[in-house]
């Protein structure tokens, strides 16, 4: 029996000796291939790949003629401005330039040579590779960069799902409408990061969210992430991986703070698994489901699951943010120093101390309480730790 995933498992290798019979083999292979393909194509795979893959490229039907006389152009292409029609067309005559002398991209990249390297990057734009005139008018245009349409409208004319999201999102992201708009984050020709991102998400986000005074659509001042991270070395995994998009949807969404999935916006919340969908997309939800455990979490006193104890309440259940700073903290496990309490911004200290066998929180929401999670601790030490009851 062939073992899966082992090299050399090709049971019927094509050898030079079999080439002489290729027409018979070929016909038979096509028939067998078609039958196998039809019979074995997993129903879900096509749909899954469709969701994963890039948007289907559409060749736009742009009017590539020069702007009519009297219409003010924002920019003219050098050769057109100079009347050098024959650089691209058969004739020099502006009134009768004739057909172009090569393929569109060959002509463009003949002068715009640097774009060959840009478009050869790992993430490249299908529309650009297909034809430069999908987006640019080679003569003149009312838009900068010789774009045939306003930049956002141009991008969204093909990227329909983003267009729909932007139109319907309850929470908007200003990055889509300010400065270079889509090009704030994407390079429309080619990039080294997926989705044509010019850098990893974090490096893009801090261009705005690394400043003081940035506000959300409701006027609430947002955290300066550069400052936060400089002062707090323990980073949440996605932050460390520069992957803000693991939790935030950059094009707009329905959850507060552009969160990709649900998370309780309030400090206290009754426990509902679906309210924590954001956290549980990566973290194990059973840490809040099982009252007793010796494997799911180290935040337990013996087998008493303290995550369960804090969060799993009908009223005034503590949300993750009660104890964890989701982006970065001074303490490990994103344990925060304190919790903002009341309208005046007073910070109630948590005073968490980690010990080799567990930890304790002192003079905080509750009196000082410790926990022991290690079975290897001598009994004398275990007795020192006051068991947690109710936080």
């Amino acid at each position: 029996m062939l073992e899966p995933n082992k090299p050399g498992n090709n049971a019927n290798p094509i050898t030079p000796a079999s080439y002489g019979l290729w027409p018979i083999h070929f016909g038979r292979c096509v028939m067998i291939g078609l039958v196998v393909l039809v019979c074995s194509w997993p129903a879900g795979t096509a749909e899954a790949e469709k969701k994963e893959g890039p948007p289907v490229p559409k060749t736009r039907k742009n009017n590539l003629s020069p702007l009519p006389e009297g219409v003010q152009a924002a920019i003219s292409h050098g050769p057109y401005e100079d009347g050098d029609c024959s650089l691209c067309h058969k004739n020099k005559d502006r009134k009768d330039p004739g057909p172009i002398t090569g393929s569109i991209n060959e002509l463009c990249l003949g002068c715009h040579e640097d774009f060959q390297k840009v478009m050869a990057r790992k993430s490249s734009h299908v529309a650009a590779k297909e034809s430069c005139v999908n987006c640019h008018n080679p003569h003149n245009a009312k838009q900068s960069k010789l774009l045939v349409e306003e930049a956002n409208a141009l991008c969204l004319s093909c990227h329909e799902s983003i267009r729909n999201l932007v139109a319907t999102a309850k929470v908007k992201h200003a990055a889509l409408t300010m400065d270079a708009k889509c090009a704030n984050c994407h390079n429309p020709h080619g990039a080294n990061v997926e989705h044509l991102l010019t850098s990893l998400p974090f490096d893009l986000c801090v261009n705005c969210h690394g400043k003081d005074g940035v506000k959300d659509q409701d006027g609430k001042v947002l955290t300066n992430m550069t400052k936060l991270i400089a002062d707090n070395p323990e980073l949440h995994g996605p932050v460390a991986a520069k992957d803000c998009s693991a939790c935030h949807t950059p094009h707009g969404g329905d959850n507060f703070r552009l969160l990709t999935l649900e998370y309780p916006p309030q400090f206290y919340s009754s426990y509902e698994p679906k309210l924590y969908a954001l956290c549980f997309d990566c973290h194990e939800d059973s840490i809040l489901k099982d009252a007793q455990t010796t494997t799911l979490t180290r935040f337990r006193n013996g087998s008493t699951n303290l995550h369960y104890l804090h969060v799993n309440k009908v009223e005034r259940g503590r949300t993750c943010r009660a104890c964890h700073e989701v982006h970065a903290s001074k303490q490990k496990h994103q344990i925060r120093d304190g919790v903002p309490y009341g309208a005046k911004g007073w910070v109630l200290k948590i005073n968490f101390t980690q010990t080799p066998t567990g930890g304790s929180c002192a003079k905080t929401c509750h009196e000082t309480r410790g926990y022991v999670n290690s079975a290897a601790v001598p009994e004398a030490k275990k007795a020192d730790a006051e068991p947690a009851t109710s936080p």
């Binding site: 994963e52 002068c111 850098s199």
Partner: protein, 271 residues
Amino acid sequence: MRRRIVLVIGCVLWTVVASAFANAKIGDRIENVEMPMIGRGKHHLLGDSNVNVFIFIKPGLEHSRTALLQIVRCEKEMAGKSVHWSAVVSDRIATAEVEREVKETGLAMPVLVDAGDALYAKLGVALHPVVGIADKDHKLVAYQPFSKVNYAEVIRARIRHALGELTEKELEHALNPPEATQGGDASVALRYFKLAEKQFQAGNHEKALENIKKSLDKNAGLADAHVLRGNILAAQGNSSEALKAYTQALALDPANTNALKGKSACQHETR
């Protein structure tokens, strides 16, 4: 200044990313446990390949689904390499749900069932999806949680690094790709140079000279632009200015054969 701050933060981030499972650090030996397999029989977590990849998944969650689709791609692309693949699911997940996920993602590797979350607890797995990579001696060499961007690229790079196909520097390049810059004066200079070259070929010396000036205004260090300026001036019969242009080109690129030829022709002309 801001770029420097970002770079410093980048370095901090990089050191943090190189973490591991709570109970298994990089370099620790991973026990090659035998586990029940979805569908049939039993299978070992690791194999005797040069690299062993194991992924903890949780069917039904978006990140797990996204990760699996990309892992499937990686597995296909790396077929033929000495890589052993396995996926691990908690026995809390219903078999039917796992089977559906396997079918819908096209996952071909064995899917092992972690009874009582024993492996989760032993390694200290706190996240899903998360990938562990062990070498042929079953020592953990890489730990990679999910990321929404560049995930397949990172997984591929980590495996290729473990196989010895990528250097540290190449791995770092994959984990922290350089900013995708574009344009700038150098690009614009090149563009004007190319336009001037075409205009010169078409016999439009005036326009060609105009555009080569624009090119050199943007990047005076472009030796080929000086050469072209020399060629245009020479074609216009201005040998003394052409000679100066070739000399400038040779100051930038002493081995430039076109500049040497042009200079020699000009010197012959002016004698």
